[in-house]
């Protein structure tokens, strides 16, 4: 049967040629082949769940970055760049780089020397079983739900962009992921994430190159954007003095303290989906270098995400509108800007590579979710709470089974979302509830030896509940946003920033108060887990250019310079 006939719909943004279909099919064949090839190297628990802890800094670093470089991320932030201008870059720079460097230099040594399998595993060592159980159950539950939401969203994108049938997209992608993760475990997921990294750059880099050529350079593009939108669209910081002087409706304090100090710290240092990649590093130097390498490349990602959005704003003949308007008018929405730019410059072959990059981004994101779920389920829920006497072989089989179950729950969630779109908003909101308080708990656990088990547990619980309460308050009474985000001019994105900031502070305050009221833990129980009680391992006697601190300084300087250039 002709594959094109099976998947083609009546209308789509781009039309694939036979050579494009060959490139897409080749990608699926390659990832399945990699899974089959790696099956023989996933026999023990360390192999299956931790990829044998033998990844080099480059592989772990690129995988760490790619786990966050999904297709929805690319299309969504390109759309945000069209809508809000260069301000969207904050999510790639201040919303990532300081947190990645903090993870590398401050937190990684504790994760690594504790030899934990997961972030909940660290909480068990530091705060005891209740904190681990709370964190593990919420993470496992939310991860598979998020995977399902992303699966549906991507299938919907494939329907709009390529005209593919939703059921076809969901089942082909989920079965492929289930096969290669079940066979190869985390190593298979990491291999495909690094492959995806190269495909995304190979498939997307032509857009900014040709776009800047067409626009006549960055200077001319800024003039075009100022004419079609506003001069504020090309300034990172200049318009952030007040909520009403920038397209995003946000204040610099929200960006610096909410996004930079809490949300990004929470995501990049405690979300197990990304941290798991670093835990697979082969030694302490690789574990520290991996996030620094990831940070270096993260600073470049705006070239293939933000710049296409800005080019769309300056060059596309049609005006893009919000999704809700596009649905009614049958026009193009902000989120269509990346596929539109792809179709603008890419002929047969290049178009297939661009589409493959989007599919690869989606599948590796799903594989990341599933492999993280599998590890947390097996090591932090099943083994401590259900069966603690199984053999290593038994837990590997449990991991393989959990992979299949995780994929099936994701598929079920995708169909649930298909029936009721509002579920998607709830699930995405739920995920954000846990991140900021979890960062408070983990960072206090690592840096303050007086923090107790009860303090950690109650801080995490109260921080999470405060986040849920603020979200529900604004949901019931939208005018409450002025209190949560401190201004009547604040817009929806500002709510996320301030909600994270307050829930983090609640977590820290409760942890401190409960800890001070309780009995301190003996120092001997904190060795290897807390600053002051831990001998930080040396990266060895290596030249300056091989030291993590040296490269972190280089990345930090470039980060500052970029912010000044685009101020």
């Amino acid at each position: 049967m002709n594959l094109a006939l099976v998947v083609a719909g009546s209308s789509s943004l781009v039309h694939l040629h036979p050579v494009d279909m060959v490139i897409v099919v080749f990608y699926f064949a390659l990832v399945l082949a990699i899974g089959v090839y790696l099956k023989g190297r996933a026999n023990t628990g360390e192999d299956f769940f931790m990829a044998g802890r033998e990844m080099t800094a480059w592989v772990a670093g690129l995988s760490f970055l790619s786990a966050n470089l999904g297709a929805l991320e690319l299309m969504g932030w390109a759309g945000s760049a069209y809508q809000y201008g260069i301000l969207a870059t904050h999510w790639y720079w201040i919303g990532a780089i300081p947190a990645m460097l903090f993870l590398a230099l401050v937190m990684m040594p504790f994760y690594y020397i504790s030899k934990t399998h997961s972030v909940p595993g660290y909480l068990k060592l530091r705060f005891g079983e209740p904190a681990r159980a709370l964190s593990a159950v919420s993470f496992a539950f939310m991860t598979v739900l998020m995977s399902g939401v992303n699966m549906f969203a991507m299938a919907k994108v494939m329907q709009i962009v390529l005209g593919w049938d939703i059921n076809f997209s969901i089942w082909v992608s989920s079965l492929t992921v289930a096969v290669y993760v079940t066979l190869g475990g985390l190593r298979s997921a990491i291999f495909n994430e690094v492959l995806q990294f190269f495909l995304i750059w190979a498939g997307a880099l032509l857009i900014p190159i040709l776009g800047l050529y067409e626009a006549g350079g960055w200077g001319n593009l800024k003039i075009l954007i100022a004419q079609r939108a506003s001069e504020q669209y090309v300034h990172l910081w200049a318009g952030l003095g007040h909520f009403s002087t920038n397209p995003m409706g946000i204040h610099w304090t929200g960006i610096v303290f909410g996004l930079g100090a809490v949300i990004s710290m929470g995501y990049w240092t405690t979300d197990f989906l990304v941290v798991q990649r670093i835990l697979a590093a082969k030694d302490i130097r690789s574990a520290e270098m991996a996030p620094i390498i990831g940070a270096g490349f993260k600073m470049l990602v705006p070239i293939i995400v933000i710049l296409p959005g800005l080019l769309g704003l300056g060059l596309l003949p049609m005006k893009l509108v919000p999704e809700s308007v596009a649905t009614v008018t049958h026009g193009y929405s902000y989120n269509d800007v990346l596929p539109l730019m792809l179709a603008r410059y890419c002929g047969p072959g290049l178009l297939g590579l661009g589409v493959t990059a989007l599919i690869a981004g989606f599948m590796s994101g799903m594989a990341g979710n599933v492999s993280a779920f599998t590890t947390v389920w097996t090591y932090d829920i099943y083994r401590p709470l259900i069966n603690s006497k199984g053999s290593d072989h038994h837990y590997v089989n449990m991991g393989r089974g959990a992979t299949v179950v995780g994929v099936l729950i994701s598929v079920g969630t995708a169909y649930l979302v298909m029936r009721s779109a509002s579920i998607m908003d709830y699930v995405q909101a739920l995920f954000s509830f846990f991140i900021a308080p979890l960062f408070g708990t983990v960072v206090l656990g690592m840096l303050w030896k007086r923090a107790t088990g009860a303090g950690g547990f109650w801080g995490l619980l109260c921080g999470t509940l405060s986040s849920v309460s603020m979200w529900a308050w604004v949901k019931i009474d939208p005018s409450a946003l002025r209190y949560v985000a401190l201004s009547p001019d604040a817009k929806a994105l500002a709510q996320d920033m301030y909600q994270a900031l307050w829930s983090f502070l609640v977590c820290v305050i409760v942890t401190v108060v409960v800890s001070l009221a309780g009995k301190p833990q003996p120092d001997s129980a904190l060795a290897g887990l807390v600053y002051g009680e831990t001998q930080i391992p040396s990266v060895g006697d290596v030249p300056l250019y091989q030291k993590p601190l040296f490269w972190a300084s280089i990345v930090g300087i470039i980060f500052v310079v970029l912010n000044i250039i685009f101020w």
Binding site: R41, E54, L210, E214, R344, Y345, C346, G347, P348, T356
Partner: protein, 76 residues
């Protein structure tokens, strides 16, 4: 992550991917160069023939990675 004698490096698989994709894109670009589509079907900046040079670059990069990280070389 080269593991000589045990399994192929991840960079080898990336080389294979870039090489095959590069050859396909280069071939498609050459075909369009020889048989240009009607002007209304051409992409913007068609005259630059980006498929040819981008496909060629991917082929070279993929070819180098495939050769350099080939399992047979790693075991030598």
């Amino acid at each position: 992550m080269a593991t000589p004698g045990r399994s192929a490096s991840i960079w080898f698989f990336i080389g294979i991917s870039l090489l095959i994709n590069g050859v396909l894109i280069f071939g498609a670009g050459l075909y369009e160069y020889a048989y240009p589509p009607a002007p209304e079907l051409q992409v913007v900046l068609f005259r630059l023939h980006s498929s040819v040079w981008w496909g060629g670059l991917l082929t070279l990069l993929g070819g180098f990675y495939t050769w350099h990280y080939a399992p047979s070389r790693a075991r030598d």
